[in-house]
Amino acid sequence: MSVIAPKFKLSYFIKSLTDNIFWIIVLLTLIGIPIIMIVLIFVDLPVHDGELVNPFLAFTMIFHPELAVPFLKSIIYSDFFKIAAFPGFGFAALLAAATIFAERKLLAKMQLRVGPFYCGKFEGILQLMGDGLKLISKEIIIPAKADKPLFWAAPVLFVATAAAFVALIPVAPGWVVADLDLGLIAVFAVIGFFPIITVISSWSANSKYPFIGGIRALHQMVSFEIPLILSLLGVTILTGTLSLSEIVHAQENYWLIVFLPIGAIVFFISMLAELERIPFDLPEAESEIVAGWLTEFSGMMYGLVQLGSYIKLYAFAGLFVVLFLGGWQGPMVVPPFPEEIITEGIQAGPITVQIAGLPIVSQEMLNGTLWFTLKTVAVIFFILIPRGVFPRIRIDMLLSIGWNKLIALAFVNMFIAVGLIYAGILGPGGIW
């Protein structure tokens, strides 16, 4: 495939698009349908309303207004949708992409610049698309001496671990991929994978700068895990649970940041360190070790690592919101679903259509999602700001901050929580 892409002409473009559609239809009919047939022999069809959803039924449902809504609903409430789209990967990736763009614009504004401007005619909104297309069409270089399977796997594993982290964050009541009893412990378990992946990737590259960067990342992430874990102890003590959804429920009246400001600060700082953001971006310190553990990544591998780290940023911001800012809790601002549509149906001229299964999602869910997203965006904003304000610190300063100051503050926070309970202010009988 090596054809010159000449100047863009709309007529050629439309012609090739129609060509594409033609060939897609031809290939699908010739190859796709037999494959579907074979698959259908072995795979059990999903059941909807006591009926097997065979392809015929599925098509019927899509185009039948009375059946489409329940079908849509059953899809939305399925596990796959949760994993792939809404509280899971798609939502996180969308927010992550928005964060990358917002960061560039925000940083530019802080530095009295414009930032990306011309790509996409309006304020450079297509800049990320350009970057993504460039990265995906860029050559991937695997160093000759590298450990190739590990080197290939590291970026994918990085994104996947970040996604597993996202799975634990409750977005709205009931809207979480994995609602665990021990959610907080599971978060620590997932966080523990990041240094391992970093070290694997830096070791497999077999180059000096990634090696140093990986070792730095290991030190940094490992040291800041302890203050991170200890700073959340106060939350557990006050709420008496480890499930993230229940922690949110417990904050119905008061956000925990009111009682545990020290814990929130310690958690925020440890979070910055875990995310490798300035002032803690030592593993990628450009002026010391070229790009740290990302040095040998090229093309889409670099893109995946960037995507993964921003998904991680979203997940951490979400965790902060869930633990300290009351999660989805907030005043009800979404209007209730109009009752008459459910009872009387939609009147379109002479025809009245009664649609079963409405509303698709509840009012609480929409409201919760709105508040959660707003709070998360605010926290992300605070995570982005230090990049324009602080210089980078040094590894020994970082370690001594983590081990001497933050751990001590985390214990102070823990004793504040215990004291609040034993003094009777919170807990059973208190204002909780």
Binding site: L107, M110, Q111, L112, R113, K208, Y209, I212, I278, P279, D281, L282, A285, E286, S287, E288, I289, V290, R387, G388, V389, F390, P391, R392, I393, R394, I395, D396, M397
Partner: protein, 377 residues
């Protein structure tokens, strides 16, 4: 001699734990040179600077060009400080040819040199900011630098490579409303410079990071022959503008900024104080400047120097710049040597980095106020 000055640059211990890092030439923290750094864990065991990536043979080329045509290429080593790097050469040629510079030209020279010092130092400050990971501190000085560049463009006609100083004066007179624009811009620049103090020099992380790193004691600074801001940050009161005033610096009130500690923080603060002082000098010079008069004396074509030699030095943003011209009654210099501040300060880099942490490398390296192109010539 103190323990910090070992004979040569040998390793303390040689084993397989020591990793050699080539910092440069393609490295975000190296500039145009290479540092061969041996690290043992997080500590630098030895550092061997390897300059010369921009060695262009200026001194050899100068032997084939006459005194006037030497001007453009002699300013290329530091294009953003081109007035100061030409200054000693022009002074030297004037002494060789016995020229007397008009008074107005002297003042305009001082103004141009001080403006150029601001332009250079702001560029340096921007790079220092980005080396420490402070990207805002890269952008702000870079943006404010354009104001001083605008002034110089108004004065000389060129953006960075001015070729403004010629033997016998300056190339052309200042434009009509230059004084007003200059005083306005300089006042604004001074205001902006003070805000840098708030966001950069008072930043707790910056202070914690650069204080007590790469300490150059007063004795070492003298012994190693450092110059300029590095020397003054170590507590030595030496500024050629006050010690050996050239042109009209003896009529101006020049204050020398001397700091005591000699660590990276002091070394990075001295240029900033110097910039504020430059604003002061420009204002004084604008006040005292004769409002009209000739700005250069005419030269005869292909001027010849006598059988003589001359060594002139001036103070620039990077330290003392000396030019040594040996003349043998020809239109071309027989030998021209540029003794530049960057090259003189380079010598303390191995001594400063030895035993430092790797994270301090960019902070110490760029606090030496070092411009590799100038050192290589």
């Amino acid at each position: 001699m103190t323990a910090k000055l070992p004979p040569g640059l040998q390793l303390e211990k040689e084993d397989d734990k020591i990793m050699t890092l080539n910092v440069g030439p393609q490295h975000p923290g190296s500039g145009h040179m290479r540092l061969i750094i041996k690290v043992d864990g997080d500590f630098i065991v030895s550092c061997d600077p390897d300059p010369g990536y921009v060695h262009r043979g200026e001194e050899k080329m100068a032997e084939y060009r006459n005194y006037i045509t030497n001007i453009p290429h002699l300013e290329r080593p530091v294009i953003h400080d081109s007035c100061n790097i030409l200054y000693p050469y022009v002074l030297g040629v004037e002494e060789l040819l016995g020229l007397e510079v008009p008074e107005r030209a002297k003042y305009i020279r001082v103004i141009a040199a001080e403006l150029n010092r601001i332009v250079y130092t702001l560029y340096w400050l921007g790079i220092y900011g980005i080396f420490l990971g402070h990207s805002t501190m890269f952008m702000w000085p870079m943006g404010d630098r354009e104001l001083a560049i605008d002034l110089l463009e108004k004065l000389t006609g060129a953006r960075v490579t001015h070729s403004y100083f010629v033997p016998g004066g300056i190339r052309n007179d200042a434009p009509a409303n230059f004084e007003d624009v200059c005083i306005r811009q300089v006042n604004y620049l001074e205001k902006r410079l003070r805000t840098y103090g708030d966001i950069f020099y008072d930043n707790p992380i910056l202070i914690a990071r650069t204080e007590n790193t790469g300490i150059l004691t007063r004795e070492d600074a003298i012994r190693l022959g450092t110059t300029g801001t590095v020397l003054r940050a170590s507590g030595v009161d030496f500024d050629i503008r006050t010690k050996e005033p050239y042109d009209v610096y003896d009529e101006l009130d020049v204050h020398t900024n001397v700091l005591k500690n000699g660590d990276s923080y002091d070394r990075s603060k001295t240029p900033w104080l110097d910039m504020l002082e430059s604003c002061n000098i420009i204002r004084q010079a604008l006040e005292k400047m004769p409002k009209s008069g000739s700005v250069r004396v005419k030269l005869k074509p292909n001027p010849k120097g006598g059988d003589d030699e001359v060594y002139k030095r001036v103070e620039s943003g990077r330290g003392s710049l000396g030019t040594y011209i040996v003349s043998r009654s020809k239109p071309e210099p027989y030998r021209l040597k540029m003794s530049v501040g960057s090259f003189r300060n380079l010598i303390c880099l191995p001594y400063l980095l030895k035993g430092e942490k790797l994270g301090n490398m960019p902070a110490v390296y760029w606090s030496l106020n070092y411009w590799p192109v100038e050192a290589d010539r």
